[in-house]
């Protein structure tokens, strides 16, 4: 999600001056935007060498860690907002990381590709795994090891006793989709709070 409109849509969910932890921060573009536009501080966590380098280039604090090894390096309740933007689908321990997000942050924003988006459904109905701009990989070479839907995530959040403060979809260009997001949105966005 490098698209500027999408980034702005996510940034709207982060309060001014918030202390932010961006899990799977990629090239640091969102964190850099939040620092500049929202006066935020914080850190990105990233595993990929090229992304870590991009963050250092941007002057964004980045910690190179494998999220599948946990977040023990961060103490409880140290961030206002923990972001997991297009990260969940790459994690082996997606549920653990969700609980860790709630442990280290007062609130969380999770965004991931919604597998129940109608073009995906259509594709599966035709008997093929979807290949779209949000899920651009073939089934045999995809780095997305967890594909879930808007509705699936609601169930997972409830199971982990996380309160959904807000939930909506985003379309390809970052417009908010509030009508039947499980069907009409390519990206699912959840704002969570510990209950």
């Amino acid at each position: 999600m490098t698209d500027k409109a999408t980034m702005q849509a996510i940034a709207k969910l982060v309060p001014q001056g918030a202390r932010v932890l961006d899990l799977g921060c990629g090239d640091g573009a969102l964190l850099s935007y939040l620092q500049r536009e929202n006066g935020c501080t914080g850190y990105g966590v990233e595993i990929d060498d090229a992304n870590v380098l991009a963050c250092v280039k941007r002057g964004v604090n980045v910690v190179q860690l494998n999220l599948d090894e946990g977040l023990a390096i961060f103490e409880d309740d140290t961030f206002d907002v923990v972001l997991q933007i297009n990260t969940l689908q790459h994690l082996r321990n997606a549920e653990t990381m969700l609980r860790e997000t709630a442990r280290v942050g007062k609130s969380g924003v999770i965004a991931f590709p919604n597998f129940a988006h109608w073009p995906n459904r259509l594709s599966v109905m035709r008997g093929r795994m979807p290949v779209t701009s949000r899920l651009p990989y073939q089934w045999y070479d995809t780095p997305n090891i967890r594909v879930g839907t808007f509705k699936d995530f609601e169930v997972l959040a409830r199971k982990n006793r996380l309160g959904v403060v807000d939930a909506f979809g985003l379309d390809e260009v970052g417009n908010v989709v509030r009508t039947l997001p499980n069907f009409f949105a390519s990206t699912a966005v959840f704002c969570l709070e510990r209950q």
Partner: protein, 376 residues
């Protein structure tokens, strides 16, 4: 082709109080500088050296074309630490054998060679001595303090002892203290030296001998710990020096790795001082900024104000990534600006001196940003 480096010497008459309670006066620090100090004296980078290195960080000496400084791949015009932008200072630590006052020099009170009476120095003492050198050079605040391994410990110590004297600290392949295993390796090396019949309790200078046997073994042990198992296997494997036939000898060199270690040990014993080796390994053992805080590194790092870059290497088992992460955690707990790169390099601890493109580009990018601040 590297630029020409010239060692310089600064003499200090005033006594420097040491952590041990002793003090040292009338001492000299050897140093080199590269690049130009800018008008507002803000572009200085201090490079702290590791165990067996010196002030000769980059460039070559005019009369020795092969005398590249130990971090010549990192520091120079157009290199990650660009001397077109930064004024880089390399300094040789007290107690070392490369020009700063050390055990082979004369005690000002007795007129005799220090030898075994050279005071035990700590990382903190070195940092305080370096601070005096900066005072003399008229540098109130460094842009970056930089070091690898033991040098990284000095960089970390700088941020705690003189928190306002640098904007950035870059700590590479280092640790917040030594593990028991690390201390054990140091102890074996020291025992090799002190039990050498030529050591004479540290006063071997008077006997005109050098405890070379001890130094050779110390270096061999050190060298093993600086490399990874994989690299050693790749470089030497089980290759025999004499071809395919075994000699059935327990004394002769059989394997290439033996030959290599003996060669490294021999070279080292030609130029390194035995007392210096004892002093430096002891400074390594003692370094532990968390000690006055009941072992709590987070409390210890609360004093730091610098922005940090930490770099570790996955195959470094002497100063493992876990040890760097401990420093990162302490800084995160204190909400300091910190970035951490864990470089997946095969070379072990020595990787910090080698040309890994991922490592060098992270360093270059970090220093680029530090340089941009200078003109901002």
């Amino acid at each position: 082709m590297s630029f020409i480096a010239t060692p310089q010497f600064m003499h200090f008459e005033e006594a420097l109080p040491l952590t041990s309670g002793a003090s040292i006066r009338d001492y000299t620090l050897a140093y080199e500088t590269y690049g130009t100090l800018n008008a507002n004296r803000s572009n200085a980078v201090l490079v702290c050296h590791a165990l067996n290195a010196s002030h000769h960080v980059a460039g070559v000496y005019a009369d020795q074309p092969k005398s590249e400084g130990w971090w010549d791949n990192m520091i120079g015009p157009g290199k990650p630490v660009d001397t077109n932008k930064f004024f880089v200072i390399g300094v040789n630590n007290l107690g070392s054998c490369f020009g700063s006052t050390g055990p082979m020099h004369t005690h000002p009170d007795t007129g005799e060679v220090y030898g075994s009476s050279f005071p035990v120095v700590t990382v903190e003492d070195w940092v305080n001595a370096q601070a005096r050198l900066l005072d003399r050079l008229g540098i109130a605040q460094l842009s970056v303090v930089l070091g690898g391994s033991l040098g990284g410990m000095q960089a970390l110590s700088w941020t705690l002892q003189h928190p306002d004297r640098m904007r950035h600290a870059v700590v590479v392949a280092s640790a917040p203290n030594l593990t028991a295993e690390n201390i054990a390796f140091n102890e074996v090396a020291r025992r090799a030296i002190v039990t050498d019949p030529d050591f004479h309790g540290g006063d071997f200078y008077a006997h005109n001998v050098i405890p070379k046997r001890g130094l050779r073994i110390a270096r061999m042990i050190g060298h093993i710990t600086y490399l990874s198992d994989d690299v050693m296997n790749e470089k030497f494997g089980r290759e025999l020096r004499g071809g395919i036939d075994l000699k059935y000898s327990t004394q002769d060199i059989e394997f290439q790795i033996e030959s290599y270690l003996r060669h490294q040990g021999e070279k080292f014993s030609e130029y390194f001082d035995a007392n210096t080796y004892l002093l430096i390994t002891r400074a390594l053992d003692y370094f532990d900024p968390a000690r006055p805080h009941g072992g709590n590194l987070t409390l210890a790092l609360a004093r730091a104000r610098a922005k940090f870059l930490l770099v570790s290497f996955t195959t470094d088992w002497r100063f493992s990534p876990q040890r760097s992460r401990e420093i990162v955690k302490g800084l995160l707990d204190n909400r300091r600006d910190v970035s951490y790169a864990e470089i997946d390099a095969p070379h072990g601890h020595d990787a910090f001196l080698l040309d890994d493109p991922r490592y060098l580009s992270v360093m270059a990018s970090y220093f680029d940003n530090a340089a941009k601040e200078l003109s901002a």
